[in-house]
């Protein structure tokens, strides 16, 4: 194992007393103080995250959009400039290699943002798949630091340090601008279930931006937030996490996200044949379904725990945590179709040998008021 990589904000995290954790080869803040307090801050006020471990890949050229249409499952070339899309990249057999957000930055420029754990796989696959197109693929992982401001107070906080038109910036849109004197790509995206922004900046500018946002947010209740609360926030919001709800063993249809696959886009794309079959199979014989589980007791389900009904194993937990918002343990799990309907009776989780009762619910667990 090589030394974990450190973000441009590493010294700052340590000065703040963060508990650090190895995440996909990066030394990242897990929490600064109480992860439950950080979670609540994002739900009710605002939180500031360092997400510089995410992997940016830039694709440019006259056929950049066509190259991405071929490499990914979405209809990327149909994106308007300034808009973003949630999509996936699949193996030829239809298995999910990663879930991604793609931003169209210009007529001939796209930025693909991959999970840290998969960034190299995505870079290699996109590079290989784009080879026949008039497009260039650039590894921009070291070109960006990524800060996120999330929570209901995040628009007001950001407005105080930028002249950019945030009111005109829709969810899943991005525009270049200046924040606290720092050139940034400002995106209205996130992984918390709250309104918020992600700011892609040069690593050299990251500390200045972090400090400016900390000052701007002080009166609005903004606190630094680590990956621990990011995980409980996304879980409450029913958002999948690669390596848990999404793996190479699953197709987007298995994950209930078949809508990201655009069969009607022009040209061929990697995985089309396998995904066509996967779509038909999901229609004919419903696979295990991704559902929400809410505990009646207080013991917490963890990834890998069996879901049981009538003494039989009928599924598996993929993510679980005590939910700060619901005040109960929650989980996402793949469950046999026969037991997957909300309200299904007699479903439990085998928590280290004891079957604890759980309620099957529709995802998400939490939806913000708009």
């Amino acid at each position: 194992m090589s030394e974990p990589r450190r973000t441009a904000l590493d010294a700052l995290h340590r000065a703040l007393g963060a508990t650090m954790t190895d995440f996909a080869g990066w030394d990242m803040p897990l929490r600064y103080a109480s992860e439950r307090d950080e979670h609540t801050a994002v739900r009710t006020r605002a939180g500031l995250f360092d997400l510089s471990h995410m992997g940016e890949i830039t694709v440019t050229g006259p056929a950049a959009g066509e190259a991405l249409d071929h490499a990914l499952v979405g209809h990327i070339s149909a994106l308007a400039v300034g808009r973003a899309r949630y999509t996936m990249i699949c193996a030829p057999d239809g298995g999910i290699l990663d879930d991604l957000i793609v931003y169209r930055l210009g007529d001939e420029e796209y930025m693909v943002v991959a999970n840290a754990s998969n960034a190299q796989v995505v870079l290699d696959a996109v590079t290989e798949r784009a080879a026949g197109f008039d497009a260039a693929v650039r590894d921009d992982r070291d070109a960006y630091a990524l800060l996120a401001v999330q929570g209901p107070n995040s628009p007001a906080i950001l407005k105080s340090v930028t002249d950019a038109d945030l009111d005109g910036l829709k969810y899943y849109a991005g525009l270049p601008g200046t924040v606290a004197g720092v050139p940034a790509l400002i995106a209205r995206t996130g992984y918390t279930g709250e309104d918020g922004f992600e700011l892609f900046v040069a690593p050299a500018d990251a500390e200045k931006l972090w400090q400016a946002l900390t000052e701007a947010g002080a009166d609005a209740g903004l606190v630094p937030c680590g990956l621990s609360c990011r995980d409980t926030l996304r879980l409450e919001a029913g958002m999948p996490l690669y390596g848990h709800e999404l793996t190479t063993a699953l197709t987007p249809f298995d994950a209930g996200l078949g809508r990201v696959v655009k069969f009607d886009k022009p040209g061929d794309f990697v995985g089309r044949e396998a995904l066509t079959a996967a779509a038909a199979k999901a229609e004919a014989t419903p696979p295990r379904k991704l559902v929400g589980l809410v505990a009646e007791g207080r013991r917490v389900p963890r990834a890998g725990y069996p879901v049981v009904a009538g003494g039989e194993v009928v599924g598996e937990v993929t993510s679980g945590a005590p939910s700060p918002t619901l005040g109960k343990p929650i989980a996402m799990a793949y469950v046999d179709a026969a037991h997957a309907a909300p309200g299904s009776l007699g479903v439990g989780v085998d928590i280290r040998g004891t079957h604890e009762p759980y309620e099957v619910v529709a995802l998400p667990f939490y939806k913000r008021q708009r």
Partner: protein
């Protein structure tokens, strides 16, 4: 953080108080352990009357990210459990050495390898 001098410590990060006149000691987890766990959300403790054995699991602690076994640092009979901490597990984080105690035990036998505060501080490197 500082580990109270009057307590003794196990390498599994439990503390044991000096026995009172009835030979009963309190048991908890250390501040070092509580910080490593993060916010504790659920504790499962042995029942009053249970016999616990030094080095063996006697309960569990759930935090946001993980579940950890609770090991008995000494052998003996459980005489009391801390209902306050069952109702409010965050006491383990906020007062690990005081209000966050977990159970009381009448010690029948204690292992010879419990650490002093200074030894435990050196053991955890903090």
């Amino acid at each position: 953080m500082s580990n109270p001098q009057q307590l003794r410590y196990s390498k599994e990060h439990e503390w044991v108080s000096a026995a009172d006149a009835d030979g009963v000691s309190s048991v908890g987890i250390t501040e070092h352990a509580a910080n490593a766990l993060g916010d504790v959300v659920y504790v499962q403790l042995p029942a009053v009357g249970d016999t616990v054995a030094a080095g063996e699991t006697c309960g569990e602690l759930e935090s946001t990210k993980s579940v950890s076994d609770l090991y008995a640092p000494v052998s003996g009979e459980v005489t009391e459990v801390n209902e306050d901490v069952v109702n409010d597990p965050s006491l383990v984080n906020s007062a690990a050495f005081e209000g966050g105690w977990l159970f009381k035990v009448k010690i029948s036998e204690e292992p010879g390898d419990l650490l002093s505060a200074d030894e435990y501080t050196a053991f955890t490197g903090s």
